[in-house]
């Protein structure tokens, strides 16, 4: 598996606060990777390190095979990036900003700019300060796509868009980037978007990676089994690989499974029981389970 992004023990400290703490990420080429976590969990800091905007305190990282410290200039030339709130020079018109950015990239394609601005129907002659938030995002996306990047890094790309614009935005990314075998790495807290388009996700909390897996595997393996057994299961019954947590519920159990689901489910069914049922977990349930609650409110 070729990796578009890889980090090894990537760490960033501000004074003594660890914004990112020993992060190990692997983003396969050609995937749509969702980078999920509550606000302040280190998503933006991680992305800034990948781009070389912020230097890591320790650990290392590679983007498209290039070192994030030594080769950040090349990385920035080869990827498209859109910040969470794309603040651009408000006094310029869209056209002027495009011309300004064009001068930085050896691989800039005017044809792509034309194609997307027509698609978005963006008024490029207007001053950026007069554009709506959605239009600004679209302009930022055009600029991110124009150098024809093989990796697109988006920080909360859809949070400022209305539902219609969001669908349009995601469709373009799916069609133009994923459809051509390129990689998308995006952070988001809009889980419904992530659930639609991502094939891999990582959950991050307090700068640490809590879980990373393919979306399909999460949805087929991450489940809760509710069971009421006729008699107490033998000691050690719950000590199976893949069982994450066991809670009592009245005279039954709630068994949280993260892997090895079929085997565990079969084992439960074999025990004489009054009730066995499977509770599916969607991304929101998983998000709350992995990164929700306690100390980060």
């Amino acid at each position: 598996m070729v990796l578009a992004v890889e980090t090894i023990n990537l760490t960033k400290e501000f004074n003594s606060f660890k914004a990112v703490d020993g992060l190990n990420l692997q983003v396969p080429e050609g995937s749509v990777f969702g980078f999920l976590g509550p606000n302040g969990s280190g998503k933006t800091t991680t992305i800034r390190m990948l781009l070389g905007i912020t230097k890591p305190t320790s650990g290392e990282g590679k983007v498209l095979g290039l070192d994030i410290v030594k080769d950040s200039l090349n990385i920035r030339a080869k990827i498209g990036y859109m910040a969470e709130v794309p603040e651009m020079y408000g006094y310029m018109t869209g056209e002027e900003l495009i011309r300004f950015c064009r001068g930085f990239y050896p691989s800039w394609e005017d044809g792509l700019v034309k194609k997307y601005s027509e698609l978005f129907n963006l008024p490029l002659k207007n001053k950026i300060s007069s554009l709506s938030k959605g239009m600004k995002s679209q302009l930022a996306l055009i600029i991110a796509l124009a150098p024809n990047p093989s990796l697109l890094i988006l920080d909360e790309p859809t949070s400022g868009l209305d539902p219609i614009k969001r669908v349009q935005f995601l469709n373009i990314i799916m069609k133009e980037i994923v459809g051509t075998g390129k990689t998308v790495f995006f952070s988001s807290h809009l889980l419904s978007d992530v659930e639609r388009v991502c094939d891999r996700v990582a959950f991050i909390k307090n700068g640490r990676l809590v879980k990373t897996d393919s979306m399909d595997k999460l949805k087929t393996q991450e489940k809760i089994i509710r069971a009421v057994f006729q008699k107490e299961p033998p000691p050690g019954f719950f000590e199976k690989p893949g069982i994450k947590k066991v809670q009592r519920e009245g005279n039954g159990y709630l068994i949280s499974v993260e892997d090895n689901f079929e085997e565990i489910f079969e084992a439960c069914k074999k025990m004489p029981n009054f009730l066995i049922e499977v509770i599916d977990q969607n991304l929101e349930d998983l998000f709350v389970a992995y990164v929700g609650g306690d100390n980060d409110v």
Partner: protein, 134 residues
């Protein structure tokens, strides 16, 4: 014909499985007939705003199961020859439904007799509607 897909991205079922299930049911139920063309990976992913990789994965699995045929450069078609759902698969689906019924009944504290009454009542209803429908 254009098949209408109902996706629930936020359910606990992977999206590619939802697509597989809908195409299988449509093919088995006669909504799709042999030779019908399915939307391309690109079209479907754009229609549903989902990852094209997900659509590809579903199509590949359907092709492996002989439900569809992907002819490169031409399109994706429902396989020639009748598609029957295998008996075992049918039984599996039914079993699940019945099981769910009993789980629900258990939670609500229904006795077996009471459940049986409801069961027969529903069966009568469905049978009447079925005759009218013919």
């Amino acid at each position: 014909m254009k098949l209408h897909f109902y996706l629930q991205p936020s359910s606990g079922v992977p999206i590619y499985k939802q697509i597989i299930k809908q195409i299988k049911h449509a093919a088995a139920g006669g909504l799709l007939s042999a030779g019908d063309q399915l939307p391309s990976v690109r079209e479907l992913s754009e229609d549903l705003t989902i990852n094209p990789n997900t659509v590809s994965k579903a199509y590949q699995e359907l092709e492996r199961d002989g439900i569809i045929e992907i002819i490169h450069g031409v399109g994706t078609f429902v396989s020639k020859g009748n598609i029957f759902m295998e008996e075992k698969e049918k039984e599996g689906l039914m079993k699940n439904a019945v099981k769910q019924l009993f789980t629900e009944a258990y939670h609500l504290g229904f006795s077996f007799e009471r459940l049986k009454g409801l069961f027969l009542e529903a069966y009568e209803d469905a049978a009447v509607k079925g005759r009218k429908g013919d």
